[in-house]
Symmetry: C2
Subunit: 487 residues, 2 copies
């Protein structure tokens, strides 16, 4: 969840539409600590073509990185587009760890999907969840799941000519007992908000009278299960929050706080270069964050986490709050779909190099539901962009195919296959220090990399609105510190 | 909840502590649309007096307007102060209606109580709820109620020499069936956040396929029960949100939206001057907000609100979302306390002119739990300020009483009695128009009053942090509109 590519995909449409506003925003950005918000002024608005034949129906499932990038780049005048997602917004997930400690506000990293599609014309959005895909009748079954005193006919059916599946993945608990009941996750904006409240709960709780020292220590033991980028960044953010803000407000308990990262492998951040891993482990040791490597969590109860090590066997540690961040699993609707198309026993949908699912006609899969790779966001965004471009030139390419020669039949493929471009990845480590692994085995670590991180994350925002808000949040934090109200 | 006094109570301590920061904030404030953030530089820091006798124990219940104002003005070096509240923050409640529509962010109107008391020295805060007051043994029983996987010995006991009860009131449903189950309230920050999500739910829900027009209309019927300032301001905010922001994002359903205000009396805003009421009713009529006066709600089901009128009898209207904002009731712990001290059958704690409860020694009551007046916030804040000043000069005044002559006994009262000063009140009506009723029968209505409202609310913030955040939220809304993500 913590990866971001160093490329600028010309996402800044609003710049062209609202010149005065964007000037104001640039001033804001400039005052926000010298951040460079870079705008690619490439104009790729498509000219609406007047077709006679009825438009083909495209149904997009999901409004995450893959789905949103696809929608942003699609020439929607060529298709009849419908979008289905239980979230009516796109969330900039790399900043989720920042929300857990109040560094960035939730509303600053979300953009209503209706605002994004409004600029594209006639796209329809349904806030609902797809619970069944039927590739033979080319239909998807959806269910609206909206709270409050509203009930009734919640299910509906959409049929498609092209289906783009981009619904992401779910958290993987590896069926460890007690995880769902007692651990927090960090996949959605709501998760991050809950974690924030829970951290404050622990501090208030530990400050209450008539508790013994042992109990206070337990309550202030924060455990992160999983030493991947999300877990590591959350640990770093939490450490900063505690040392920079909370230690002043809770002076009587600040020395009891302990942060632990439990990792089943031998090192944290294993997908990074060894230099980054070493730097991170050393920094965490200096900061007093305990890294327990070689331990696998086998059970979580309300007050204890039990873990197992090959040589030392089982051990149990008391804890106050736990965040589970170990990996991703397949969503039920995808599992059901895989069974139908003979892909059972796989962990994610298998696609060909053109992101198409071989077994069924006109169905594409992007992002986490089609990949088990670690570089999720980058892959998802690049796939969304690639597929939109294919859809935009579908008519042209049917007459003039641009892909490689077909192996089993004559002629060429319509499109060039998808190629993932690696641009680098970040690992924020707290204390205004970030590690970055760039292409060509180049490593950058330290305060300057933190500023690179700020700049890239600001520039990668989906709209000028969220860009300005994120920058203003950073400014707020810089001036006033993080907020510690339990709301 | 919507009243604010036009006085500046020297609340801006931070100004003295962080000169560079406040300069930056003033620049922010200036760029935020020409707002004048007025800072009273009166310095009333008390000099810590070195006492020999053990300090008297003061227990404060509640961190609302009364409790927080008391704490801010108390010379805490003179007493051993403990604060008990289930909320670890102070909330600027007049801006709650603004949160319901995303005009202002929740974190911008709350200030952690620990930040406020940190500046005062040795005050202790316990995040807990007082569930029993025992005036004979001079003890309060408290219970911590903190979520997540934490349980155990949650109850504790505090004893006091002086008890300041400032726990506010609860919502009054008048035992109307279905209100608790189906209506939203607007008393806490959480309520406002829920309303925001629910408004977005209704729009998404009404946009789903295969619903008939009747059903869409029902879902988009927003009902406000109670024509007081909170209800009226929420109706106005919602109308602005719909016309300025949502109508662009939900063009297919915008004409189906209806907002109704149900009021049992003959007019809305009855506590205001007739000119304000008339202006408000005319403006609402022009805006298409239906005002149903003379109707009392008698039952609420999941889809229908039933109301009764003296002449026409009962009628039922379908609705999508309802906000209940009719008045305040007594909290259970206060009812129990009133029984103990022989004040049963009252609606609020009776105090004398010095805010003391006559029946028991050293117990004071402030704000909503001690008043049934409409001008709640102003009264509460003035009472908190008054009582803190009394506590600060208690020793002096015991030797040199400054109050009026006692009637039944000889000598003088220690303090001058509390006198409420009326400074005026606001009624924001949407469309950047506000009505204000000022002292001396002076009425101000229109756009200029809206700017007065902005200035007063900015200046009345409890800290420089919240002041800057609120101003920056207004700026954000001015540039980018309100956010419509369902988070």
């Amino acid at each position: 969840m913590r990866f971001s590519a160093f490329f600028f995909d010309g996402a800044c449409r609003a710049f062209h539409h609202r010149p005065t506003f964007s000037k104001l925003v640039v001033i804001l950005a400039a005052s926000g600590g010298g951040l460079v918000a870079y705008a690619d002024s490439k104009s790729d608005h498509a000219i609406a073509s007047s077709q006679v034949a009825p438009k083909k129906k495209v149904v997009v499932l999901g409004t995450g990185w893959a789905g949103t990038t696809f929608l942003k780049n699609l020439d929607s005048s060529l298709y009849d587009v419908q979008v289905v997602s239980p979230r009516n917004y796109f969330a900039f997930t790399p900043l989720l760890p920042s929300i857990t400690c109040g560094t960035v506000e939730p509303c600053s990293i979300v953009e209503p999907i209706r605002k994004i599609i409004k600029k594209k014309g006639e796209i329809k959005f349904w806030e609902a969840e797809c619970f069944k895909i039927d590739p033979t009748s080319k239909e998807v079954h959806c269910r609206a799941d909206i709270g409050t005193n509203l009930d009734g006919n919640d299910e509906f059916l959409l049929n498609y000519d092209y289906l783009v599946i981009a619904i992401g993945a779910r958290v993987n608990t590896f069926n460890t007992p007690g995880v769902v009941e007692h651990c927090h996750f960090l996949k959605e904006v709501e998760d991050a908000q809950k974690i924030r409240r829970s951290v404050m709960d622990c501090f208030e709780r530990a400050s209450l009278p008539n508790l013994d020292e042992e109990e206070r220590k337990r309550i202030l033991h924060f455990v992160i299960v999983g030493g991947g980028p999300t877990g590591v960044e959350f640990a770093a953010e939490l450490h900063d929050f505690v040392t920079e803000d909370l230690s002043k407000l809770y002076p009587m308990v600040r020395d009891l706080v302990k942060i632990s990262v439990i990792q089943s492998g031998e090192h944290i951040l294993t997908m990074f270069d060894k230099r980054v891993t070493e730097f991170a482990e050393e920094k965490f040791q200096r900061d007093g964050i305990e890294v327990k490597t070689g331990f696998k969590v086998v059970e979580v109860s309300d007050k204890n986490i039990t873990m197992a090590n090959k040589s030392t066997g089982k051990m149990s540690v008391p804890y106050g709050m736990a965040v589970w961040s170990t990996g991703i699993g397949t969503r039920p609707v995808i599992m059901d779909f895989m069974k139908q198309i003979g892909q059972a026993n796989r962990r994610a949908l298998a696609t060909n190099e053109w992101l198409r699912i071989h077994e069924c006609d006109g169905v594409y899969a992007l992002g986490d539901c089609a990949t088990i790779s670690q570089r999720k966001i980058m892959v998802a965004a690049q796939q969304g962009n690639y597929l939109a471009k294919c859809f935009n030139k579908m008519k042209d390419c049917e007459e003039h195919p641009e892909g490689p020669l077909r192996i089993t039949e004559s002629g060429r493929h319509r499109f060039r296959p998808f190629r993932y471009k690696h641009f680098g990845q970040f690992a924020p480590l707290g204390g205004e220090q970030t590690a970055a692994q760039l292409p060509g085995d180049w490593i950058s670590i330290g305060h300057s990399t933190q500023w690179l991180w700020y700049s890239v994350y600001a520039s990668k925002q989906v709209s000028w609105r969220t860009r300005a808000l994120v920058i203003s949040d950073w400014t707020r934090r810089f001036i006033f510190g993080r907020d510690s109200s339990r709301i």
